[in-house]
């Protein structure tokens, strides 16, 4: 009787010990897996280089926003002054209208920038990348082979044929870009470096170039004003 009771006690003790150890092991394995995941997530999403690049972009964006804010404050003050004195200032409206028509590609423009010549066949995504890089570098107006390119201009490949806004543009491309050549240059170099393995690219800085092609914005049929 006593022996059997001793065996039961010993078995219970073993079970308790093993359960406690299993619990400890489970806890440690969990901690181990979680800490590895946390380290991986931190490194994968926000390494120091990413954060530093983000800081650079935020500084640049905030400077631009500050300049926009200053320009709008001046415009607002001018409008207020004119209205207070009982007058109307349609010139201020015309000035803003001209800026927006430039942005929308509805008027011919000139200014400093780059002339980029590409000899050879490029795909739609390569041209899109180049345009994206140039816009990111502050391009204010762009044309390709005499066609004005704005944000909504579709760039598509149909087989080997590159089409811009529905027009075939061939394999000899001339991109005219107006903006700060100091900023546009590195962006153009970046695109050129990926293209130059297959096609010839030449980039020239221009003190003044003209983009005379214009686009007529498509009328809004489906979209209505308001939220």
């Amino acid at each position: 009787m006593r022996n059997r009771s001793g065996e039961v006690t010993a078995r219970s003790q073993r079970l308790i010990v093993i359960s406690l150890i299993a619990l400890g092991l489970g806890f440690l394995i969990m901690v181990q897996l979680r800490s590895q995941a946390a380290v991986a997530r931190t490194l994968a999403t926000q390494d120091d280089t990413s954060v530093a690049l983000l800081i650079n972009d935020l500084n640049r964006a905030n400077n631009l926003l500050l300049q926009q804010s200053t320009a709008l404050a001046e415009q607002q003050a001018q409008l207020h002054q004119t209205l207070t004195s009982g007058g109307t200032d349609s010139q201020a409206l015309s000035k803003e209208l001209t800026t927006l028509r430039e942005v929308n590609g509805a008027v011919a423009v000139h200014g400093p920038g780059l002339e980029i010549q590409i000899e050879g066949a490029v795909m739609d995504f390569e041209l899109q990348d180049a345009l994206n890089n140039l816009r990111n570098a502050g391009a204010e107006a762009i044309s390709l082979n005499g066609y004005r390119i704005v944000g909504s201009t579709p760039v598509v490949s149909r087989g080997d044929v590159l089409m811009v806004a529905g027009h075939t543009v061939g394999t000899s491309l001339v991109l005219l870009v107006i903006g700060d050549a100091e900023q546009l240059g590195p962006a153009a170099d970046l695109s050129a470096s990926s293209l130059q393995t297959r096609v010839q690219v030449s980039i020239q800085r221009k003190s003044d170039l003209a983009i005379t092609a214009v686009v007529t914005p498509r009328p809004l049929i489906y979209a209505q004003l308001g939220k």
Partner: protein, 237 residues
């Protein structure tokens, strides 16, 4: 004896795991921790500043618009210019719009964790967003927004490290929602065309990367949260 053997084995395993756990804990030098904290603090401060500046720009735009409305009320000449101005604002993304259209949803797939596949094809890249926006314009979209950011003539997508940025350093994070206003059928046909975005569709099959679209009778796109300031382009004549 059996208990002793079990305890010894288990203790050995626990000690081994504890050692592994201890070794896997990153032990960065204190200056690295301080540097990381300072960098992240800078991002937070700059993003707060960014939001405040955008709010300031939008408030000033509202003031300017009120002044322009008043000017138009006082003069028929100004009224004519104001009508053209409003039209150009709608095209440039300076007006909120609503209407029928298409919602495109994208999210990262599953990391294959394979040494033979380091392509990062399971994540959505900024070029994917750029491609979708391009296909939507080609399919007749009249206005587009990505994660609440209006696509305007100056919009460019780019990377800042792992971050996808758009419109004055606005960070885009997955999942991505692209809203396009226009004919829902034409937009859906464009996105569904097998010749378009073939690579993205292939990654959708391989990595389970999310890529779906939904037609709607009423969607809205917000106003661009900044404005345009041209410094180099001048009108001809």
């Amino acid at each position: 004896m059996t208990v002793l053997a079990s305890v010894s084995l288990a203790t050995f395993l626990v000690a081994g795991l504890a050692a592994t756990q201890f070794r896997s804990q990153p032990l960065p030098p204190s200056n690295r921790v301080a540097r990381e904290q300072a960098l992240r603090q800078s991002v937070n401060q700059l993003e707060d500043q960014n939001h405040a500046l955008k709010a300031r720009v939008q408030a000033l735009q509202a003031d300017v618009k009120a002044g322009e409305d008043e000017t138009a009320r006082r003069s028929s000449a100004a009224q004519e210019v104001k009508a053209q101005l409003d039209e150009q604002k709608a095209f440039a993304g300076l007006t909120a719009l609503h209407g029928p259209g298409l919602t495109v949803l994208l999210h990262d797939g599953t990391d294959p964790n394979s040494p033979s596949d380091q392509s990062l094809g399971w994540t959505i890249h900024y070029q994917d967003l750029q491609d979708i926006v391009n296909v939507l314009w080609a399919s007749g979209a009249e206005a587009i927004a990505v994660n609440g950011q209006r696509i305007v003539p100056t919009t460019a997508f780019h990377y800042a490290g792992v971050n996808i940025l758009v419109n004055n350093a606005s960070r885009l994070s997955p999942p991505y929602t692209v809203i396009a206003l226009g004919d829902p059928s034409a937009l859906a046909n464009g996105v569904g065309n097998p010749d378009q975005m073939a690579e993205l569709k292939s990654r959708n099959r391989i990595y389970g990367l999310g890529f779906s679209w939904l037609r709607s009778t009423r969607l809205s796109v917000p106003v661009y949260d900044a404005t345009f300031l041209l410094k180099y382009a001048q009108p001809v004549g």
